[in-house]
């Protein structure tokens, strides 16, 4: 997969975030402060224009610029966390022009590591990690088992979506939702939901690529 696929990914992610903006904000209103969709929509809009201006040549450069822009434009908890995720993924890809599935898996593992290093959340804490961790795990496992691109990407997205849904029954231990204690149970974590959307955009972009 070349740089254009990754640009397509970010473009698709920006589109679905914009579309789901109010939904994500409402999820955040229930257990946070009602700005997650607003934050990410603002961030990805800035990312798109940054990609237009800089037109990075490699997959790694696309993701690194995406991460840096999110850090500069989003704020809140999700800005640094998603920013770190994309930057680490970009750095992991180095300057290869054509990314294969194992390299993509390694990049996603690096993204997860970056999020956990910065935010110190573990699986079960009711955060984006609960979507990202199972997703990367399922993706790497599928690839190791020799799955096709379709199969591996399907596994990635299914695991992310299942992980996001699973946060509904969790009590938040990190982030703003943790202030609610037991009252956080019964609501889907907005960051986990946005992670599932962003990984869904990755699958769509990758499958659309020749």
């Amino acid at each position: 997969m070349h740089a254009d696929v990754f640009r397509a990914w970010i473009t698709a992610a920006a589109a679905i975030i914009e579309e789901q903006r109010d939904h994500l904000t409402q999820l955040d209103a229930a257990i946070g402060d009602a700005d997650h969709g607003i934050n990410l929509a603002r961030g990805f809009t800035a990312v798109l224009s940054a990609l237009d201006t800089a037109a990075p040549a490699t997959p790694g450069a696309v993701l690194t610029l995406t991460g840096a822009t999110l850090i500069s434009k989003v704020g809140g908890a999700s800005g640094p966390l998603y920013g770190m995720a994309f930057r680490r993924a970009g750095k992991a890809l180095g300057d290869t022009a054509d990314v294969d599935l194992p390299a993509l898996a390694a990049a996603l593992e690096a993204a997860l590591a970056g999020v956990q290093q910065l935010g110190a959340a573990r699986e079960g804490d009711k955060t984006m990690v609960d979507a990202l961790a199972p997703a990367t795990g399922a993706f790497s496992k599928a690839i190791a088992e020799g799955a096709s691109a379709d199969g591996a990407l399907a596994a990635l997205v299914e695991a992310a979506q299942a992980g996001a849904v699973a946060t509904i029954s969790m009590q938040a231990l990190k982030g703003r939702a943790s202030y609610l204690g037991p009252r956080s149970v019964g609501h889907e974590d907005p960051g986990a939901a946005s992670t599932a959307l962003i990984l869904g955009a990755l699958r769509d972009a990758a499958l659309a690529s020749p």
Binding site: D33, P80, G119
Partner: protein, 330 residues
């Protein structure tokens, strides 16, 4: 949504333009969203910066000036600012003696200030961060992101600012900031919700006979919901929670803070109940603030912050301050 704005996208920058026009003593970089003292950095003086989401005015921009902050960086409404703003502010106020970051304990603020501090260190600026976490409504445990930083932030900015103005070094200024935070506790009560402009609808719903006890300044829900009660009982609920964590005897600095939509008349009613409660437990209100200092947009409600004073803290509290929202002695 009924608001005095032009559009949700421009509310923060439009307000910053208003701040710039209203306060010649401030320099406002509207594009980068940084408010500094007009004078520029003072050589040899420790720089104090703080920042956080907008919607809490006068916090933090209203506290920039002699004897308090050197700079503030406002984020979008209820969203912490970004590292770029904090770095720009840190560079703008660095007089060579280092810069103190006053950070309210929210994951977003912590992470963004952390990144900004790293960037500043890369540029050779000595930065120390002090985190405020005075909100007793949140249990400070492994099961939460920790107590939120609320009203004590005002006390920290005033008192640390006074010490920095006297020429104290970064470590001493950071130490007194931590001391003030350690000696302060807060608790908030909401009568109504508030509406983030870009969201367009209230963050939460409260029935006409309900209050939210332990509300956060971004409308985060609190400990429990309770029935609407007389001011005396609501003040007691707040002070019971504070008193469970901080002895309420001796000389106290007390703030009864409005959430933004509560009339001053009612805040004085609450303050009267607060001082009566404290007097009943051997607490003496030696210094006080009554008004809107750390708000949540148009939310109706109040918070109480209590700080155990020492002679030194009282001296620094009384020191001259000259900011848009807090001014005395000059």
């Amino acid at each position: 949504m009924k608001k005095l704005i032009n559009s949700p996208d421009t509310v923060v920058t439009d307000a910053l333009a208003g701040v710039a026009a209203a306060h010649p003593s401030l320099a406002v970089d509207i594009e980068n969203k940084v408010i500094t003292r007009a004078g520029g950095p003072q050589a040899g003086k420790v720089g104090l910066i703080s920042g956080g989401g907008s919607g809490h005015e006068p916090l933090h921009g209203g506290f920039v000036g002699h004897g308090m902050l050197d700079a503030a960086c406002p984020g979008e409404v209820f969203t912490s600012p970004v590292p770029d703003q904090m770095l720009a502010a840190t560079k703008a106020v660095n007089g060579g003696a280092g810069v103190l970051h006053i950070v309210k304990n929210y994951t977003g603020d912590i992470l963004n200030f952390q990144m900004a501090a790293e960037l500043a260190e890369d540029e050779g600026i000595n930065v120390v961060a002090v985190v405020t976490n005075d909100d007793v409504a949140v249990l400070d445990s492994l099961y939460t992101a920790g107590r939120r930083g609320v009203g004590a932030t005002v006390f920290v900015e005033k008192i640390a600012g006074a010490l920095a103005e006297e020429g104290a070094g970064l470590d001493k200024v950071a130490a007194v900031a931590r001391e003030v935070n350690d000696r302060s506790r807060s608790f908030g009560v909401a009568l109504t919700s508030c509406t983030v402009p870009a969201a367009g609808k209230p963050t939460f719903d409260l029935a006409d006979n309900e209050v939210e006890l332990g509300i956060g300044i971004h409308g985060e829900p609190g400990r429990t919901r309770g029935p609407l009660a007389p001011a005396r009982d609501l003040a007691a609920a707040a002070l019971d929670a504070i008193g469970a964590d901080l002895p309420l005897s001796g000389d106290l600095l007390v703030m009864v803070n409005g959430m933004g939509g509560t009339p001053l008349l009612e805040l004085y009613v609450v303050f009267n109940e607060v001082q009566r409660y404290l007097a009943g437990r051997g607490g003496r209100v030696a210094r006080s603030l009554v008004g809107n200092y750390i708000t949540s947009l148009e939310m109706q409600g109040f918070s109480v912050t209590v700080c155990q004073l020492t002679d030194e803290l009282t001296r620094l509290w009384d020191a001259p301050v000259d900011t848009p929202a807090l001014r005395w002695g000059r």
